[in-house]
C-alpha cells in the first residue's frame, strides 16, 4: 500500500503580532502548524532573533560581545551596533540597572536610556524591565510612554503587576504587552485572560511562558510550550493563541557551564565557547518547542540561530 502523507495543519492558528514600525517592523506568529513543520503548511513568519543589550553597559560581558561593540561608548551607539548585528531582527533593551537590589537607578535615568535607544535605531524594540515587580510597574509604565508611536513590546506584565503594566503599555500608549508567567500553562492562560479582560486586544499580547537553560529543569519548559501550542492549535483555545517570545540570554549565561572560569574547570575548555553553547542549544530548543522569537546576546549565537532558522524554513 502506498504511503499517503497527511497534512498536520490545524484549523486554528497563532495570532500574528507586529512589533516596530516602518519597513523593518517584524511579525511573529500566524502559523497553523507545529514549530518548523513547513511540510504541513507554509509558515509565513519565521521565528525572529533579538539582540539583548543592557543599560549596565558591557563591563560584565564576555570578550566576544565586548569585541563586537568595540568603540561604542553610549547606550545609543551600542543599540545601533546591536541593530546591525548579522542575523538580528530586533533589539531588546534590558533595564536591569533599575533593580532596587542592584544599582537602583532612578526611573528617570532609565527613561533617558530608553529615549536614547528609541532615537538611535529603526529596527523593532523590546523593552524589558528589571524583574522587580514594583519597580517594573512604574518603570515600564514610563518606558511605554517614552516610546509612544514606536510600537514596542514591553516585557513584561506578570501576575503581580499586570494591571499597571498592561494598562500603560496596552491601553494608554498603544504598545504590545508581554505577559510573563512561570512555566505553567494555566498561569499563562490566566494572565492572558486577565489582560484581555482589561481591554487589551488579544493580538497585542505576546507571551513569555518562562524558560530555563537547557539541563536546568528544561523538560518543564518543553512540556509547557508543547502544551500551550497543542491547546492553541489543537483545541483552538483563543486564550493561549498568543505568540511566544523567550529571553534566552539571561538563563543561558547564568549557569555554571557558562560561568565557571577556565582556571576552575580546565577540562571544560573555553568559557566563552561554553556560554555560546548554552545559549545556542537553549535557543534552538525553545524554538523547536514553539517559541516565535528568542532574545540572545552573543554575536556567534545570533548568527548560528538565525542560520538555523533560515535552513529549517
Amino acid at each position: 500500500m502506498p504511503f499517503n502523507g497527511k497534512s498536520g495543519k490545524f484549523n486554528a492558528s497563532i495570532n500574528t503580532v507586529e512589533i516596530g514600525c516602518g519597513e523593518k517592523a517584524i511579525k511573529i506568529g500566524g502559523e497553523n502548524v507545529l514549530p518548523f513543520y513547513t511540510f504541513d503548511a507554509a509558515i509565513e513568519n519565521a521565528p525572529k532573533v533579538g539582540v539583548m543589550i543592557s543599560d549596565l553597559g558591557l563591563d560584565n560581558e564576555p570578550a566576544g560581545v565586548k569585541a563586537y561593540y568595540e568603540g561604542c561608548t553610549t547606550i545609543a551607539e551600542v543599540a545601533k551596533k546591536a541593530a546591525e548585528m548579522p542575523g538580528a531582527d530586533f533589539v531588546c533593551l534590558k533595564l536591569e540597572g533599575a533593580d532596587p537590589n542592584g544599582e537602583n537607578k532612578s526611573v528617570e535615568e532609565c527613561i533617558e536610556a530608553v529615549k536614547a535607544v528609541v532615537d538611535a535605531i529603526d529596527v523593532p524594540l523590546v523593552i524589558a524591565g528589571c524583574k522587580h515587580v514594583e519597580k517594573d510597574n512604574e518603570l515600564l509604565n514610563k518606558a511605554a510612554e517614552a516610546a509612544q508611536g514606536k510600537n514596542v513590546l514591553i516585557l513584561a506584565a506578570k501576575e503581580e503587576n499586570y494591571k499597571g503594566v498592561a494598562a500603560a503599555a496596552g491601553l494608554a500608549y498603544g504598545q504590545k504587552v508581554g505577559a510573563e508567567s512561570a512555566v505553567d500553562i494555566n498561569l499563562a492562560k490566566q494572565l492572558n485572560v486577565l489582560i484581555s479582560k482589561m481591554g487589551v486586544a488579544q493580538n497585542n499580547i505576546v507571551m513569555n511562558v518562562g524558560s530555563a537553560a537547557v539541563g536546568y529543569g528544561f523538560e518543564y519548559v518543553v512540556s509547557t510550550m508543547d502544551r500551550t501550542k497543542a491547546a492553541a492549535l489543537g483545541q483552538g483555545d483563543k486564550d493561549v493563541q498568543m505568540p511566544i517570545i523567550t529571553p534566552v540570554a539571561d538563563d543561558a549565561w547564568n549557569v555554571k557551564e557558562a560561568m565557571a572560569s577556565e582556571a576552575d574547570m580546565p577540562a571544560w575548555g573555553s568559557q566563552e565557547a561554553r556560554g555560546i553553547g548554552m545559549e545556542v542549544s537553549t535557543a534552538a530548543s525553545v524554538l523547536a518547542s514553539g517559541s516565535n522569537a528568542v532574545i540572545l546576546k552573543h554575536p556567534t549565537s545570533v548568527a548560528t540561530i538565525s542560520k538555523m532558522i533560515k535552513d529549517l524554513m
Binding site: 499597571g164 494598562a167 491601553l171 512555566v183 505553567d184 483545541q235 483555545d237
Partner: protein, 709 residues
C-alpha cells in the same frame, strides 16, 4: 415641581445661555473662527465621544448645538431626563470651549480647567489598576469650611481622586489645604460648567482605555458606568442647572449624593439624599460600590506570616481564652447590607485589662459580613481563615475552630497595648482585603462577658454550626446544579483535573465543593471552573457529556472520558497530592485503602509510595485511584461497583479516623452495623491470605459481590 420639570428647566436655561454665547462669538469672530481645547486629540471630547463628530470652528459648533437640541425631548420618562442631562453637559462643554478661543488661558491657579490628554493617560493607568479607587466630583459650597476640609481629606486618605467645582475651592484655600494633581485634589473651576472637564476625563478614558468608538454612545455610557468609578457630591442649595447636570452624571452611571432636602427626588442608587455631610464619604462609596484596600493594619504589634508558628508558653501568657473550659466561639454571619455599619466594633464585657494575668477566660467574636455577592455558603470559608489571621499577630496563638478555640496572648503583646479592638481590627482588615469580591461591609463584635458568651454560644453559634452541618449533609451530587473543576496542581501534574462534587472532594482533601465554589467566586479566572451536569449519559457510573467535555478542555485534550463513581471504567485521574489511594484486592473482590501517613505494606503487596508511583501523574489507572480521607465515608465512594461495602482493608489509624462516619454510611446503605469491625488492618493482616481468612470469619459483604475484573 417634579424632578422632570427641574431637569428640563435647567437644561433649557443652559441651552439658552449656550446658544447666546455661540451667537455672540460668531458675531465677534465669524463662523470660521477655530475652537479647540488645548493638548487633546479628541476635539471637544464629550461631544466627539457621544456623536463621533469633531468640531473645529464656530460654524460647526453652531451645527453641533442643533444636534444637542435633538436630545432635548420633553416626555416625562426617565430616558428623556437622562438625555437632557447629557445635553446639558454638552452645552457646558460648548460654553467652556468658547473660553479657550484664540489660545486664551481662562483658568488660573489653583484652577485647572481643561485637562490634557497626557494627564488622562497618566491618571488612567492608576484608575484601571485600582490604585485610584474612585473619582469624587465635589460641587458647590459645603456647610462650613471644616466640613469641606474634612470631606476632601477623607477622600485623599483613601487615595480617591477629587475634582472640585465652585465655592468649595475657596473653602479649601481658606482651610489651608494644598491642592493640585500631585496630591490628587484638582480644582477645576468656579463656574458650574467647568464640571465638564471631569466628564471629559471619563469620556476620554473610555476612548483611550476602553477602545470605545467615538459616536458609540451606548458603549461609552456602558464603559463609564462599569469602569469609571466616579460619583458626585453636590452641596445644597441645588439650582435647576445643577440638577440637570446631575441627570447627565447619572446617565453616565455616576451617582449623585447631596444634602439638599428641598424639592429633591430620591432615586435609589442614583440620586441620594444624605443630610449629614460627614457621611458623604461612606454613602458615596457604598453607592458607587468602591472598596478601599487596607494597606496597613493599625495595631500596636506586628502582623506577618512570620509569626504564624509562634508558640506562647504558659509563663509568657497574659491571658488565655480556652474553649474547652469556658464558653468560646468564632462565627461569621451573613447579614443584609442595610443591617450593618461597615467597620463598626462592639465590645460586650470587659477588655483585656480587666482580666487577671495568666487566667483562663471566655471570648466570642462574631464577624458580620454583607455583600451583594456574599452567600451563606462562604461563611465557613471565611471563618476558617481566622486561624491564620490571629496566628499572624505577633504574640498571639490560635488553635481550633468553631466553639473549640483556644487563644493565648503574650504579656509583651498586651503591654504593647493590644486590646480587644485590635483583635477586631485584624479580623476586619483581613476579611475586607482578602474577600473584597464578596464582602462589601464588615462589622466585628467581641464578647467577653461570661453570661453573654454562654447564652450566644448556645443560641447563636451552635445553632449556626448545626445549620451548616445540615446543609453539608444535604449537599448531595444530585442536589446541586453544577460541579467544579480544580486544576490547582497542574503545574506538576499537567493533565490532571479533579471534578469536585459535594460528595467527592478533591483528592488532596483540601478542596470541598463549597471551597471550589468560593474559589470560583473570588477568583473567576482561577483553578476552579464551573462544570455543568445537564447531559447525563449513565447515572450509575456518573458519566456526563458535560463532564467529559470539561475534562478534555481542562486537561488540554489529555483526557477524554471520566466517570464520577467508578474505579474501573474511566476512573478519575490523580495528581500526586492524594491523601489516600485505594486499589483492588482481588482475593476478596474488595478494595484496600492506604493513607499517606501509613508507611507499611498493604495486602496488595505494595506500600503507599509504590501505589502512588503507579497512580499519580494524571493518568487513568483502572483499579486504582487517589482520593481524600473524607471521601471514604461518601455514599458515592465507588458507587458504580457497589460502594463502601467493597472496603476490606485500611490502616488502623485511618480506620479510627473515619469509623464513625463510615459506619453510618454502611448502616444507611446496607443496614450493616459497625461495618468497620469487618475491615482488616495491619494489626490483623498485611498479606491477602490472612486477610481473606479474617474477612470470611467476619462475613464481610464484599466476598459475596460480583468480581470487579
Amino acid at each position: 415641581m417634579t424632578l422632570f420639570d427641574r431637569v428640563f428647566g435647567g437644561n433649557d436655561a443652559v441651552y439658552g445661555l449656550t446658544e447666546a454665547a455661540i451667537d455672540n462669538a460668531i458675531a465677534q469672530y465669524g463662523v470660521d473662527q477655530a475652537v479647540a481645547f488645548p493638548h487633546t486629540a479628541y476635539s471637544l471630547p464629550c461631544y466627539y465621544g457621544v456623536t463621533g463628530t469633531k468640531v473645529s470652528n464656530l460654524g460647526e459648533l453652531k451645527e453641533a448645538l442643533g444636534v444637542v437640541k435633538t436630545l432635548m425631548t420633553r416626555e416625562k420618562r426617565l430616558n428623556d431626563a437622562f438625555m437632557s442631562g447629557v445635553a446639558t453637559a454638552l452645552c457646558a462643554e460648548f460654553i467652556e470651549v468658547l473660553k479657550y478661543i484664540n489660545g486664551a488661558t481662562p483658568y488660573e491657579e489653583p484652577c485647572y480647567g481643561h485637562l490634557a490628554d497626557a494627564t488622562i493617560r497618566e491618571l488612567g493607568v492608576p484608575l484601571v489598576t485600582g490604585d485610584i479607587p474612585g473619582v469624587a466630583v465635589v460641587l458647590g459650597k459645603a456647610p462650613t469650611t471644616e466640613d469641606a476640609v474634612a470631606l476632601i481629606k477623607s477622600y485623599q486618605a483613601q487615595g480617591i481622586l477629587v475634582t472640585l467645582v465652585g465655592e468649595i475651592i475657596d473653602q479649601l484655600a481658606e482651610g489651608g489645604m494644598t491642592t493640585g494633581a500631585n496630591v490628587r485634589v484638582i480644582p477645576l473651576g468656579k463656574d458650574v460648567t467647568s464640571v465638564i472637564h471631569v466628564v471629559s476625563v471619563a469620556v476620554r478614558a473610555a476612548l483611550i482605555f476602553g477602545n470605545v468608538t467615538p459616536g458609540d454612545a451606548g458603549n461609552l455610557m456602558k464603559y463609564t458606568f462599569e469602569r469609571v468609578p466616579a460619583f458626585v457630591n453636590a452641596f445644597a442649595p441645588l439650582n435647576d442647572v445643577i440638577v440637570a447636570c446631575g441627570a447627565g452624571a447619572i446617565a453616565l452611571g455616576f451617582p449623585v449624593v447631596t444634602n439638599e432636602t428641598e424639592n429633591i427626588f430620591r432615586v435609589p442608587k442614583s440620586l441620594i439624599v444624605q443630610e449629614d455631610v460627614s457621611k458623604f464619604n461612606a454613602t458615596s462609596l457604598e453607592a458607587r460600590d468602591i472598596k478601599i484596600k487596607i494597606a496597613k493594619i493599625d495595631i500596636p504589634v506586628a502582623f506577618a506570616s512570620a509569626f504564624e508558628g509562634e508558640i506562647i508558653r504558659r509563663g509568657d501568657m497574659q491571658v488565655e481564652f480556652d474553649g474547652s473550659r469556658k464558653d468560646c466561639f468564632e462565627l461569621v454571619r451573613t447579614r443584609e447590607l442595610t443591617e450593618i455599619e461597615d467597620h463598626k466594633f462592639t465590645l460586650i464585657g470587659p477588655d483585656f485589662d480587666a482580666m487577671e494575668v495568666g487566667s483562663k477566660q471566655q471570648i466570642a467574636y462574631i464577624v458580620e459580613v454583607a455583600g451583594k455577592a456574599m452567600q451563606s455558603d462562604f461563611e465557613p470559608v471565611l471563618e476558617r481563615k481566622f486561624h491564620t489571621y490571629i496566628n499572624c499577630i505577633e504574640g498571639a496563638m490560635h488553635t481550633g475552630q468553631r466553639d473549640m478555640i483556644r487563644i493565648r496572648l503574650s504579656k509583651n503583646t498586651y503591654e504593647a497595648g493590644f486590646r480587644a479592638k485590635d483583635l477586631a481590627e485584624v479580623l476586619y482588615a483581613n476579611i475586607k482585603n482578602e474577600f473584597d469580591v464578596v464582602v462589601d461591609k464588615c462589622a466585628v463584635t467581641i464578647i467577653t462577658d461570661e453570661a453573654e458568651c454562654s447564652k450566644l454560644r448556645q443560641e447563636l453559634a451552635v445553632a449556626a454550626y448545626n445549620a451548616r452541618d445540615e446543609r453539608l449533609d444535604s449537599l448531595t451530587d444530585e442536589a446541586v446544579p453544577v460541579y467544579y473543576s480544580c486544576t490547582m496542581c497542574q503545574a506538576f501534574s499537567p493533565s490532571h483535573v479533579c471534578v469536585v462534587t459535594p460528595e467527592r472532594l478533591g483528592l488532596c482533601g483540601a478542596v470541598s465543593w463549597l471551597d471550589a465554589k468560593a474559589t470560583k467566586e473570588l477568583n473567576p479566572e482561577g483553578p476552579c471552573q464551573i462544570i455543568t451536569k445537564e447531559r447525563c449519559i449513565d447515572e450509575n457510573l456518573g458519566r456526563y457529556e458535560d463532564v467529559d467535555e470539561a475534562v478534555a478542555k481542562f486537561s488540554n485534550g489529555a483526557l477524554e472520558h471520566v466517570t464520577l463513581y467508578s474505579i474501573m471504567e474511566d476512573p478519575m485521574t490523580s495528581c500526586g497530592c492524594f491523601e489516600c489511594i485505594y486499589g483492588i484486592e482481588p482475593f476478596s473482590n474488595g478494595v484496600a485503602i492506604a493513607n499517606r501517613e501509613y508507611a507499611g505494606l498493604t495486602p496488595l503487596g505494595m506500600t503507599f509510595g509504590e501505589l502512588a508511583s503507579m497512580t499519580g501523574g494524571g493518568v487513568q489507572t483502572p483499579g486504582f485511584m487517589g482520593h481524600g480521607k473524607h471521601f471514604i465515608a461518601s455514599k458515592k465512594f465507588m458507587k458504580a461497583e457497589g460502594g463502601v461495602e467493597r472496603i476490606v482493608w485500611m490502616p488502623k489509624d485511618l480506620k479510627d479516623q473515619v469509623a464513625e462516619k463510615l459506619n453510618k454510611t454502611a448502616q444507611e446503605l446496607y443496614g450493616i452495623e459497625n461495618f468497620t469491625d469487618m475491615i482488616g488492618d495491619e494489626t490483623i493482616a498485611t498479606d491477602p491470605e490472612t486477610l481473606l481468612a479474617f474477612l470470611t470469619e467476619k462475613g464481610h459483604p464484599a466476598l459475596g459481590l460480583e468480581p470487579m475484573m
